[in-house]
Amino acid sequence: MSAHEKAAPGPTVIPFGPQHPVLPEPLHFDLVLQDEKVIDAIPQIGYIHRGLELLVDKRDYLDYVHVAERICGICSFMHGMGYCEAVETLLGITVPDRGRWLRTFWCELERVHSHLLWLGLGADSLGFENLFMAAWRARETVVDVAEETAGGRVIFGSALVGGVSKDPSDETLKRCIAAMKPVRAETLRLANVVMNESTVRHRFEGVGVLSKEMAYALGAVGPMLRASGVDYDVRRRGYAAYAEVDFETVTETAGDCMARALVRVREIEQSFHIMDQIVATMPSGPVAVPVKGMPPVGEAWVRLEQPRGEVLYYVRSNGTRNLERFRVRTPTFANVPAMVEAVRGASLADVPNIILTIDPCISCTER
């Protein structure tokens, strides 16, 4: 029997990653293929595992916020703030109004920056360099606003137990909102490109479909869940100043890559809407309350909505300066089973698209 006659081979295993041009971060998949179809995907994580949850043994609970901010560089402020909210719940502290408003402002700013970043990377996975560059050009204004108000481009560094550490003036905030006007227009233009461009539609529509039941059962969170038609947004809990602003939860029903892209693009518009309200109603006063002494014995759970979905923080104190346990359940960690499910049945060339449309953040996942 010649080599040509040896058709219809069994399943082939193709390694994907850890170093892959499409992935900015290392993630390894063993893709089990039958011809071009993926029949199973086995993720292997651990390339970025640091074990930072154990660092609470070595760091003062007030200083740990700087480590918490570096769980992930994209949703850095929200990680810092989530840790702070958990510790504040433990201590029974109420953050002053201006601090809460600023936190909301930065959360939404981070959401815009993250979604624009995702849009660029998603376009890059299609080979649509033009959209990649356009999205990142728009994003530069957003990170400039972050640097002007919070002090850092990606790691904001303004989260603090008891409030926030930076207090930009009302004029600065108004100027920033005005500076972001062109970004809003640009976002609408990019949304139009995503919806109508045949290249994007060809690669995104009907690819990586995740049904509503499946997404819910697999514990997916964030845009991944909302793209499948489940209305679930932890901002409805009303933490920070979300109880005082008006916004709508964006949902789509198709559950494919296109739906996930559209949820994110439309969420950018909502975030701008929230930021407008925040700056218009910004109260005056202090931004933080001083925190001193030991945390009381106890525990606290806090849930927030990050750009990638629901995140959960847990702190437990034994009454000393070092917390007994800190735990963060990050959105991508919850999305991994759903990601594996979405990849199953896709063709090999679509795997990078699908993996990128869940917006994986590996350094969050592995901590």
């Binding site: 003062d60 200083d63 700087h66 002007e148 002090g151 560094g157 550490s165």
Partner: protein, 129 residues
């Protein structure tokens, strides 16, 4: 498409020609940590609170040293400082060759900079680039 071409014709390029055009830094930017050394009491609170272990304080030798490369510019030292001699500058530290050890860390020494009895002029010696 004609509209895009037309628009691109009249808009400025998006690129900032970096080495020639440097954007002025924002006031709030976290750039690097400076020490107003005459005020410093070498209590090593900053070293204790530094999450990246970038600061070394040796009270006996009168030495305060920060490693610019290990520093994560979080400002924990500034909050911890009891005499408020530390401050955040908004100018960033620049990338340097690894062989250039003296540029890597920034050192203050009591032998060359005596302690001031009252708040005095900023520390001598320009902080490294």
């Amino acid at each position: 498409m004609a509209r895009t071409a037309f628009r691109n014709f009249f808009t400025k390029p998006a690129t900032r020609r970096y080495p020639f055009v440097v954007r002025p830094v924002f006031e709030a930017t976290r750039g690097r940590i400076l020490n107003d050394f005459p005020k410093c009491i070498l209590c090593s609170m900053c070293a204790k609170h530094c999450p990246a272990n970038a600061i070394v304080v040796d009270k006996a030798a009168g030495l305060w040293r920060i490693d610019r490369f290990a520093c994560v510019i979080c400002g924990a030292c500034i909050r911890a400082c009891p005499v408020k001699c530390l401050a955040m500058s908004n100018e960033r530290a620049k990338g340097i060759d690894f062989s250039d050890i003296p540029g890597r860390t920034h050192e203050h020494n009591r032998a060359t900079e005596p302690a001031a009895p009252k708040p005095a002029a900023p520390a001598a010696g320009t902080p490294n680039a």
